[in-house]
């Protein structure tokens, strides 16, 4: 059930940005990824989520166990809060919409259209989506953007509950979530040494 990443290299725009990334996460564990802007956090997370191929190395995780949340929340402005969540719950074949709204403090807003939510409320709705995927491994890219202190604490509580239920969480963030028990991985040392062009494996031949 673990998520094991071994010697992973990822590329952005045909250039390897990170290489030799290895870590593993067990059920109930959280891992916080840190590193300066542009080091490749988003690229790494998208690779983990299966949205782009790895240049080298391996990612092993149980099938269909990952879910991804990034800067864009995937919300439809003309659908209500409840309809947005119901859609993702139906796609993943799980329920728990009411519970998810309660956990992210959205119950009062359930009938409001996403277009009329504030930035922080949209973000809470985007994070509530994680609860209706039924997936064990959450891959989160800067989840606390535009959240106020209270909402950050609320979300930290949700993450803790997910971990308590045997889930796993990977977070790329600059903000301290207050997850003292989480391990921290600094991506700085994995920055690709001599930046080699790859672009699928042959760009080096161009240089």
């Amino acid at each position: 059930m673990d998520l094991v990443v071994d010697n992973l290299a990822v590329a952005r725009g045909g250039l390897t940005v990170l290489e030799g990334v290895s870590f593993s996460v067990e059920p109930g564990q959280a891992l916080i990824l840190r590193g300066p802007n542009g080091v490749g956090k988003t690229t790494l997370l998208r690779t983990l989520a299966g949205l782009q191929p790895a240049v080298a190395g391996s990612i092993s995780a149980p099938p269909e166990s990952l879910t991804y949340a990034a800067h864009a929340d995937g919300l439809k402005a003309v659908l209500t809060v409840e309809e947005n969540l119901q859609f993702w719950a139906a796609i993943h074949g799980v329920g728990g919409v009411t519970d998810a709204m309660a956990q992210m403090n959205l119950t009062d807003l359930r009938a409001r259209r996403a277009a009329n939510l504030s930035a922080g409320q949209k973000r809470r709705l985007g994070l509530a989506r994680l609860l209706v995927t039924g997936r064990a491994i959450w891959v989160l890219d800067e989840p606390t953007v535009s959240l106020d202190t209270a909402s950050v604490a609320l979300f930290a509580g949700v993450v803790r509950a997910h971990l308590g239920a045997g889930g796993m969480v990977l977070i790329a963030t600059h903000i301290d979530l207050g997850l003292t028990e989480a391990a921290v991985l600094d991506l700085g040392p994995f920055k690709a040494k001599a930046p080699v062009a790859t672009g699928g494996g042959f760009d080096e031949a161009f240089t």
């Binding site: 045909g14 250039l15 930046p195 062009a197 672009g199 042959f202």
Partner: protein, 243 residues
């Protein structure tokens, strides 16, 4: 040594640098010979007069218009399967050449059609099919230019080339179904059969076809070399940014 060695950009540049002058030389020799022979040293047709001589441009360019697309299809498949960048770049390099051949075939056809059929343009199946082929080339080239990332562009255009090939063939048959047409059948492969092309035209025509094949190869080699240099430049720039 495997044939895929040539797919390495460095190797390709070395080999093509040596091959290119030879191909260019042969192109010049065969085109000059074929066209001068065809235009000045063949008899006028008893019905078509001297207008018949446009076949020395029309037939080879029309053939190469289709062959260029087939070459792009093969190169795209090689890129999708084996991920050789040179293959993708060769497909990219061939497209404007193919489009030019298509346009030359259309224009020479119109020039010939005016005195013969009494019209610059007829919605004849062959002419229509070539017009549609030109549209496919345009779309393919536009997609290459619209996508910034070169690998993404190569993948997308390769998929478009495959799907486009199927629809181009479908269009050819649909157009045939739609209008029976004025255009005569091809007679080049009918030597030895009834109503063949006259030998006086046949030999210079074959020389011209050879010349245009060589011209295509030479142009594609040159353009592929340019594309490789452009890729090398952008790879070096990207490296400099990261370092």
């Amino acid at each position: 040594m495997s044939v895929w060695e040539y797919a390495n950009p460095k190797r390709f540049m070395q080999v093509s640098a040596r091959v290119l002058p030879v191909v260019v030389g042969l192109t010049v020799v065969s085109l000059v010979t074929g066209l001068i022979w065809g235009f000045f040293f063949t008899p006028d047709d008893f019905r078509q007069g001297s207008t018949v001589k446009i076949i020395f441009l029309h037939v080879p360019t029309a053939m190469m218009a289709i062959n260029a697309w087939v070459m792009m299809l093969v190169a795209s498949l090689i890129w999708l399967i084996r991920r050789h960048h040179v293959s993708a770049l060769a497909a990219k390099a061939a497209a404007p050449v193919g489009l030019t051949f298509t346009l030359i075939a259309l224009v020479t056809g119109a020039l010939w059609g005016q005195p013969m059929w009494g019209t610059w343009w007829a919605w004849d199946p062959r002419l229509t099919a070539f017009l549609i082929l030109a549209l496919f080339y345009l779309g393919y080239i536009a997609l290459w230019q619209a996508v910034d990332d070169p690998d993404t562009a190569a993948d997308l255009t390769a998929v478009l080339c495959m799907v486009g090939s199927v629809f181009a063939v479908l269009s050819r048959y649909a157009v045939k179904f739609w209008n029976q047409g004025l255009h005569q059948d091809s007679t080049i492969l009918k030597v030895g059969e009834k109503d063949p092309i006259d030998v006086a035209y046949y030999v210079p025509l074959v020389v011209c076809i050879l010349g245009f094949v060589l011209l295509f190869v030479a142009l594609v080699l040159m353009r592929t070399r340019t594309e490789i240099r452009a890729r090398r430049l952008s790879a070096l720039l990207a490296q400099e940014r990261l370092a």
